[in-house]
């Protein structure tokens, strides 16, 4: 769910790896981000609507990923996938660290880019400073 930069890249990769992929986005133009040889299903609509998810083939899906720009949309869609459709693996992107913590505790498989990027950047800075100190 969500065919932005992350969603399109992930969908294309899974498709190349031979998985059956369906991707949902509210804006049909987003699908232009997919490669020309993408064989998966593209559905226009909101992923928080069970009918839209159904037409994207969520019934019988093994995994669901919610990577729209909206934390709450991602959270709601992941819960629909898990609670209504019984999808075993639901990965959900949540930008807000406080929200991410709550939903991780509730058992969602969460990714918080805010925390990831800031800690990566921090580690690099620290490493760079240490390297400079060693050179002296």
């Amino acid at each position: 769910m969500g065919c932005g930069r992350v969603g399109s890249q992930l969908a294309a990769r899974l498709d190349r790896e031979g998985h059956k992929v369906g991707i949902v986005d509210t804006d049909a133009r987003s699908f232009r981000r997919l490669p020309d040889d993408f064989r998966g299903l593209t559905i226009v609509g909101t992923g928080i609507d069970d009918d839209v998810l159904r037409s994207a083939g969520i019934e019988g899906a093994d995994a669901f990923v919610a990577v729209t720009e909206g934390d709450n949309r991602n959270i709601m869609a992941a819960q629909v996938a898990r609670e209504i459709f019984g999808v075993a693996e639901c990965v959900v992107r949540i930008y807000d660290p406080a929200r991410e913590e709550v939903y991780r505790q509730l058992g969602l498989d969460t990714i918080c880019p805010t925390k990831l990027v800031s800690s990566l950047a921090h580690d690099r800075l620290v490493a760079a400073m240490l390297a400079r100190r060693e050179r002296r």
């Binding site: 928080i48 609507d49 069970d50 909206g70 934390d71 709450n72 949309r73 959270i75 709601m76 819960q79 629909v80 609670e83 209504i84 807000d96 406080a98 929200r99 709550v102 505790q105 509730l106």
Partner: protein
């Protein structure tokens, strides 16, 4: 009681106004739009906080930790869901109420642990349904758990129930006939009460029995 309202649209505005006028509760409204916050503050005093109600920091600042009730009435179901879930899980708010814009989400919200939901679309539909004349069977209200409903049926002449006592009618388990209105007279029925054409029968029923009840009261 400390009541936290999130979303200052029409519903949030009038809800805040009503609760403040009642004067018995402490009320705080969280609204995203700074211009609205300014206008509301002028009208209500300092009971309006600017911010995103779905952000933990805003909720914290608004004192969600000591709130007795959180009511999420924004125009977006996904926001209302997350506001209520955050209130419950992070701030241990005992009671959460969510407005639902898309009636489809009513069942989902209940399954996801929201205490109460109000679907404005369904409420309006039900009210209109009651106002349309010549309707013989009307769903009046769904009770809190959502499994029970109060319905009203008007007995037509060709009803299988016409002329029979309540004891004779094979009501399924999970149906209680609560009242019978015959003209201006209100009857609290017993098994011996005989139903007549034109009787308005009010029943409390499990929702899965609603259709069976409809068939028993109206002609099949």
């Amino acid at each position: 009681m400390y009541i936290l309202i999130v979303g200052g649209g029409k519903v949030g505005y009038y809800l805040t106004k009503t609760l403040i006028n009642e004067g018995t509760n402490e009320v705080l409204l969280i609204e995203r739009n700074p211009q609205k916050v300014e206008i509301y503050t002028e009208r209500f005093g300092s009971v309006v906080v600017q911010g995103n109600g779905d952000e933990a920091a805003t909720m914290e600042k608004a004192g969600a930790g000591r709130a007795d009730v959180v009511i999420a009435v924004t125009g977006h179901d996904e926001d209302n869901l997350v506001i209520c879930q955050m209130a419950k899980k992070r701030f241990n708010v005992p009671r959460t109420i969510a407005r639902i814009n898309n009636p489809k989400n009513e069942d989902l919200f209940r399954r996801l642990g929201i205490d109460s939901t109000i679907s404005s679309t369904n409420v309006i539909l039900n009210l209109i349904e009651q106002l349309i004349p010549q309707r013989h069977f009307v769903h009046l209200i769904t009770l809190r758990h959502g499994d029970l409903a109060i319905v009203e049926g008007v007995i037509p002449a060709d009803s299988p129930a016409n002329g029979r006592t309540l004891a004779e009618i094979p009501f399924p388990a999970g149906v209680v006939i609560a009242a019978v209105m015959r003209g201006a007279e209100l009857i609290l029925p017993t098994g011996a009460t005989v139903l007549q054409e034109g009787d308005e029968v009010v029943a409390v029923t499990k929702r899965e029995q609603e259709n069976a009840l409809r068939e028993l009261l109206l002609s099949a």
